[in-house]
Each structure stands twice: as structure tokens, then as C-alpha cells.
Homo-oligomer: 153 residues x 3
């Protein structure tokens, strides 16, 4: 028999409403920066030693400059393909850790719109970030992207 | 003439921010459980007598075990089709009722990603849930799924 | 070198949680009204002199009646096409202004589901709204819709 105790339950008693609002604001701002081509602004939402892992492509060397460089290449390929890309992050599962870090696990959908008005979607994926608060500012300490196609091999 | 009074207005005076954050957290957690194959965890987000209606397929017998069994079959068919599915719930309209229940009406989009990186979408739908708070925990008392294709007949 | 100061940073110190919850509730309610054909209800979420700009189609004359009329034509064309449409607004960037207005910049995705269960997507876009609070109620003072296809010319 399935009991409630088995589930990852959501308590309503004291949800951290400030963290909820801050996390949603963080992702909206971060992804607007990327989708509008501000790779330096995007990189600056990471910590100075921020890490970025993309399965199975591998992990970047830590740091904002490496993240900015990788994103610049990424955006150049999209521009060459003649599409406007948007990242749709959603279903944010927010897990505050005992050490003050915040683990956020969410879904990622990326749309491509071309000049002929056709819209296609990149393979979906699940992203897991570790966020930290530095001087009252949320920053991305690490990002791990797992495309769903890896689950089909 | 259209007046403001005609609308379902949103007052800013005292929004229930705790409920807002809890409802969003509830759906993120619930749908991660389902999409990652934890049907028992998913079923446990329902009350012990939880009900699940899917138009026009019909209604399940109440209870977590029946919900878990139905979802297991559902996921097995997706696995047989060789796709990774994700549920994207969004545009949550949260209506607290006088009796302490919470009615949540939202949109549902389901993506399929296959091994060839192709992404397709299931017909969209509107879902209406009744949530209840049991010992400080949000649980799904009932779910009613209405695929949009029903509106086209 | 990319520094954190360059970014649009999100501070966690005092996020406006009431505004966050109210804005999300506002869009859910507004878009349910439109997608379910209540154009007068939709128009009533705008101020009496509400403005609606759609690039490159042009701007409507101000006011709820003009917005309702435009939306009625919009929905009639969708109905004639035999599809159910849903608006998926997301990645809300909320910027309170010094003058009490609230600027919300977000992504828009519109799905079409037809009777054969096929789902297609309209070209994505970015929308920028100015919201105001009138007697404790959030209203849309102006909406500016920029389809992404404009960025490809």
C-alpha cells in the first residue's frame, strides 16, 4: 500500500516564500540575459569559480570567463542557423541544504523559431544547479545539464 | 462597455504568498516523481481516498494504489514507445475555498523526446485539482484532466 | 574578466514576495480568461485606457472595448482554424518602477491543438507589460508584443 510518508511531501506550515520568489526571479533574469545575447551578464550570475557540466559534452574549466566563452560559441551557432532561441525553465524543485546552499532541479525546454515562422524544440533535459548566497545576492555555483536523450541509450 | 468589475480581479493587498509558494512547490515535486518513474511517490501525493478522472477515459477507483497502478501502465507505454516524457504544468490559477480546500486550475503540456532527438507534444489540456492540507502537508484530493481535443468535437 | 557587478543581480535580502505571487496570479487568471473565450473578462484586466501594441501589426486605439474587439477577431480566426489555443507565459522578469508601476517582461509561447491531436506552436515572442495597482487591484496599463520573427529580418 502506498502511504503519504513515502512521498516527497510539501509542507505548508512554513514555506520559505522569500527563497521561492528569489529563485524564480533569478532564473527569469539569468535566462533573459542569455537569450538576448548578453553572455557576460549570464556568466556573472555564476560565482567566480562557477562550474558548468553538460552531459555528455563534458565540463568546462571553472570560472566566469570560461562560461562566457562557451556561451558565446553556443549563441554564434544559433545565429548561424538563423533561429531565435528561448530557454523555458520550469517545474523548479527547490531544496535548501544544511550548509546554506540551495539545490534547484528543473526541466529545460529550448525553442527555435525561424524566419519562416516554424518552431522546433531541442531535446528536453533536466538541470540541477547549486545556488549560493553571496553578500545577499543569489549566484550559480554549479550547473549540471542532463539531456533526456541520455536516458534512451 | 467592459468594466473592471467584470473581471476575475487579482488584488495585491494580501495575496496568500505562503499558499502560492507551497502550490508551486507541490506541483514541481509531484511531477518530478511521476516523470522519473516513482509512481508510488506520485500516488502518495494524493489523499488516501484520492480520485483521478480523465476525460473521456473515465475515472479510477479512489485510492493511492489505484492511482499508482494506472500510472505504472501509463509509464510502461511511454517506455515501450522509446520516449522520455515530461509534464509541463503552468498558468496555475489558485482559488482557496471557504471549506479549506484549494482549487487549482492549470494547463498541461506533455513533451516526448526520442532517441533521434525529435520532440513532439501531446495534445494540451486543462487540469483541475482539489488540494487539501492534512497535518500541514498539501495533498491532492482529486484531479480532473480535460484534454483540449474534447473541445473540438 | 566578467565580474558579478556586471549582472542583473537578484538580491535575496528583501524580495517582494507579495508582488511575486500577485503577478503570477494575475497572468494565470488573465490568460485563462482569454483562452476560454471571455474577451470581456480579458479586456477588464486592462486599465480603462489600456493600450495594446503588437509589432508589426500596429497599436490598437486605447481602451477595453478596443482590446475586446481585437481579441474577439483573434479568437474567431482560431475557432475557424479548428484549433484550441493556449498561451504559455513564462520566465517573468518583474521590475518595480519608482513611480509605482511594475514592468513585467516575459516569454510567450502559443500552442495549437487540433482535432487530430496534432500540436503546433506559433512563433515565440517577448512581451513587455506595464502593470499598475488601482484600488488594490493589479491592472494592465499597456502590453507590447514583439514576435521573435522580427529579430530575424
Amino acid at each position: 500500500m502506498v502511504s503519504a510518508a513515502a512521498a516527497g511531501q510539501v509542507t505548508t506550515a512554513r514555506p520559505d516564500v522569500a527563497l521561492h520568489a528569489a529563485v524564480h526571479a533569478f532564473y527569469a533574469r539569468q535566462i533573459h540575459l542569455l537569450d538576448h545575447g548578453d553572455v557576460d551578464g549570464f556568466a556573472a550570475t555564476f560565482t567566480a569559480d562557477g562550474r558548468f557540466f553538460h552531459h555528455p559534452n563534458g565540463r568546462l574549466e571553472p570560472g566566469r570567463d570560461n562560461i562566457a566563452t562557451a556561451m558565446r560559441g553556443f549563441l554564434a551557432r544559433a545565429a548561424a542557423a538563423g533561429v531565435v532561441r528561448h530557454h523555458w525553465f520550469g517545474m523548479f524543485q527547490i531544496d535548501p541544504g544544511a550548509d546554506g546552499t540551495i539545490v534547484v532541479t528543473y526541466y529545460s525546454l529550448v525553442s527555435h523559431t525561424d524566419a519562416e515562422r516554424k518552431v522546433t524544440l531541442e531535446p528536453t533535459g533536466v538541470v540541477q544547479d547549486v545556488l549560493v548566497e553571496v553578500d545577499g545576492v543569489l549566484l550559480n555555483s554549479s550547473r549540471t545539464v542532463k539531456p533526456d536523450t541520455l536516458r534512451l541509450r
